[in-house]
């Protein structure tokens, strides 16, 4: 009877519920309402049914094979028992208890293929962007198209891959394509109509402040914003990272720092105005986009309580900034071997080492072009006070070409290779920047999967060999693993339906959902009449 009462309650809720700003601000709970779970980017869930003590009893609950998927990068959303996952130019709504498809929407005529990192949800709508920059809003119950609105021209080198973030009725979208020449931006669109509210370019126009940090290639300078960012409601500030300057490997044609590439931007949510910026890698020539999560944590740093933003960068360093002012607080080594910089100075600028630039003959530099970390989902757990980051110990060759830069022709001014290497999952202490523990992995450095951690003191992550693993969040001790058997390129989430906790992750071609073992209950078929 209790079960039926609960079911009735759920049905009643379903009639009225709408996702509101407050719901996303409080997320995650039973639901997972935004890419990183919460505006602060923690990928942390208060769910605690699965614990470090019982994680050994985790079993798969269902698998949904996404049609035509080959390398899913999507982090699912869950709202009221429905899980939403994206593939390039499609969205699939899945019953989060059974794994059964409810609806799917696809836009096969989108120009460009490519990856998609996830959807957003607001009111009664599910949003995603097509590869050719249409913000698309769908009815969350039926998948019916409500509106779609083009926000950028694919003809100008811009594509779209990231999950939108929605705050106070504004859908924040980014821009991809920075390796081929384009001008990066972050945009706010109306959640009701898709109309543009503001657009913040990541590279200045001629004559604007910062334009003197470029040569003539300003117009195609890159600085793509291809990963979602985080949001501090109290400061009403968005934190968004930017990608590499273009052409990637040939810096001789763009002398200067190339603002605001490889940076973290603090933008006002209402106006898009830049409050401050911090550039991690001035004049980058190694394709070290700053696309890694800006994680918002209030903690003590250098003996003082701070509203901090933590950022593990592709260039090999782990940064802490004051998120109110952008002040540089500290940088420590994220990986063991860094050969391009001796360290980071008091102002936050790298202290460069010689023979690190790409050349026609090539230079061997650590980290590799994949970076010391990348866009993989990181997790901050307030219970353990640790930040979990997937890192890559890898070096590679960097080459520069002398060809004239040609935008939108897949030209990047050179190339890079990477060799060997190892993925290591590291638990970092935000107070000191030091490692609390680490979990080295076997594999070939090919994964892009991330983490989620919980109040049950469990850290879930993919590994570099296609396993889904559960670790003790305090110690890094392995608790459980499951061989999914495919390269993992997406980050896990956790949710609860009917009082049962699930953990879900997309593999290359499918979505898997796991939970604690319970004996099966035989299903009694109801009376079915067809008339």
């Amino acid at each position: 009877m209790k079960r039926l009462t609960l079911l009735s309650l759920l049905l009643t809720l379903a009639l009225t519920a709408q996702v509101r700003h407050e719901d996303v601000a409080k997320s995650p709970g039973n639901d997972w309402l935004t890419y990183a779970g919460s505006y602060n980017g923690w990928r942390y869930s208060p769910l605690s049914q699965i614990t470090a003590a019982n994680a050994k009893n985790i079993v798969p609950k269902w698998v949904y094979h996404v049609p035509d998927a080959r390398g899913l990068r999507s982090s699912p959303l869950v709202y009221q028992g429905v899980l939403y996952i994206t593939n390039g130019n499609s969205v699939h709504a899945i019953d989060a208890r059974s794994g059964r498809l409810v609806w799917q929407y696809s836009d096969p005529r989108a120009k460009e293929g490519g990856v998609n990192r996830g959807a957003a949800i607001w009111a009664d709508k599910v949003y995603f962007t097509t590869s050719d920059n249409y913000l698309t809003a769908l009815n969350r119950h039926t998948g019916a198209l409500l509106f779609n609105k083009k926000f950028a021209d694919v003809e100008k080198g811009t594509t779209s891959t990231s999950a939108p973030v929605i705050a106070k009725g504004k859908v924040i979208v980014g821009s991809a394509g920075g390796d081929g020449g384009m001008r990066g931006f972050v945009m706010a669109l109306s959640a009701d109509t898709g109309a543009e509210i503001w657009k913040a370019y990541t590279v200045p126009a001629k004559g604007e402040k910062g334009a003197d940090t470029w040569g003539d290639l300003l117009e195609w300078g890159g600085g793509a914003a291809w990963l979602s960012g985080t949001y501090d409601p109290e400061l009403n500030t968005l934190f968004w990272t930017t990608g590499n300057p273009w052409p990637d490997y040939n810096g001789s044609v763009r002398s200067g720092d190339n603002l605001y590439t490889c940076s973290l931007l603090a933008l006002d949510l209402d106006t898009g105005k830049m409050k401050w910026y911090f550039q991690f890698t001035p004049h980058d020539t190694h394709d070290w986009d700053a696309q890694s999560w800006p994680i918002l944590v209030d903690t003590e740093i250098n003996g003082r309580p701070r509203k901090a933003v933590l950022h593990a960068n592709r260039n090999g360093f782990f940064y802490a900034l004051d998120r109110v002012t952008g002040e540089f607080l500290r940088a420590t080594q994220l990986i063991d071997k860094i050969t391009w910089a001796k360290g980071i100075d008091d102002k936050g600028r790298p202290i460069l080492l010689p023979n690190s630039e790409p050349t026609p003959q090539g230079n061997w530099v650590c980290p590799s072009v994949k970076g010391a970390t990348n866009w993989m989902g990181q997790s901050y757990n307030p219970g353990t006070g640790l930040l979990y980051v997937l890192t890559l110990e890898q070096c590679g060759m960097y080459y520069r070409s002398s060809q004239d830069p040609q935008p939108m022709k897949n030209f990047s001014g050179g190339g890079a290779t990477e060799e060997g290497g190892q993925v290591v999952l590291r638990a970092l202490d935000p107070k000191t920047g030091k490692r609390a523990w680490e979990y080295p992995m076997t594999g070939l450095g090919r994964m892009w999967t991330g983490t989620v951690s919980t109040a049950g003191n469990v850290l879930f992550s993919g590994d570099d060999d296609g396993h889904f693993v559960a670790l003790d969040a305090k110690t890094g001790k392995n608790l459980w693993h499951f061989n999914i058997g495919e390269t993992l390129s997406a980050s896990p989430i956790t949710y609860s339906v009917d009082g049962k906790q699930y953990v879900a992750i997309a593999s290359a071609s499918a979505v898997f959902s796991f939970g604690l073992f319970e004996p099966a209950v035989g299903v009694q078929s109801p009376v079915i009449q067809i008339k």
Binding site: S98, V102, W103, R109, T142, P526, V527, K531
Partner: protein, 271 residues
Amino acid sequence: MRALAPLALFALPLLAQHGRYLSDSHHPSIGDPVAIAAGTKLFMGSCAGCHGPDGGGGARGPNLVRRSLWHPLSDDAIFQVVRKGVPGTDMPPTKLADDQTWNLVAFIHSLTGPASSNPVPGDPAAGQAVYWGAKAGCGNCHSIRGQGGSMGPDLSNVGGSRPLAVIREAIVEPAKDLYYLGNEAATVVLKNGQTLRGVAKNRSNYSLQLVDSTGVLHLLQMNDVKNLTLSASTPMPTDFATRLSKAELRDLLAYLAAQDARAAEGKGSPQ
């Protein structure tokens, strides 16, 4: 079941994925508006009598559109059929020159493309009135860009995803399609006494995903279901061929053909 009677159905959810919408030939006439226009004239004069003006089939000739969706011929194979005919059938060989034959192939190819990409007779504005009016009542069940009912499939992109002949067939011969899964009209009585009416978006022996008549999704476990009643036939009315005049049907088709998610914003909106 009375409440569900006007439910409508476009029971071809998979076809849009598999239709031969993209050119599979490098011949320059394919996709060329001039060639298609020339081919249209040839088709109307020599082919439409058997195959129907939109290729939807007639008393003597098969439906060229539906066949191509399930088992597409290459453009070169269509060329050969036009040139040589089909021995042992009513399809005769032709003596058209190569370029004329290619014009015809270009038109036949275009018939299998989305309705929105081809010229369609009729008045979309008049068709809009038919769609949202009481006589046809399409909007009671089918939404377009957020307006209308949610029992039938969303039609916001119907012109952008389906050939005209397929749309016509779904209106005038809805019972022809036997693919109802995802669109079954269902009445569910739960063990707690509650009754839900709507469309089963998906169902198995173990779970049921149902959108009710107010457009709200319910995720049910079959162990919670006491009785499930499914409609044996399509909930789409089957009398549109007689309920609507020829002009109304033509205009309605023109309106639906214009529904394209990739058209300029605002085009084809119901207001």
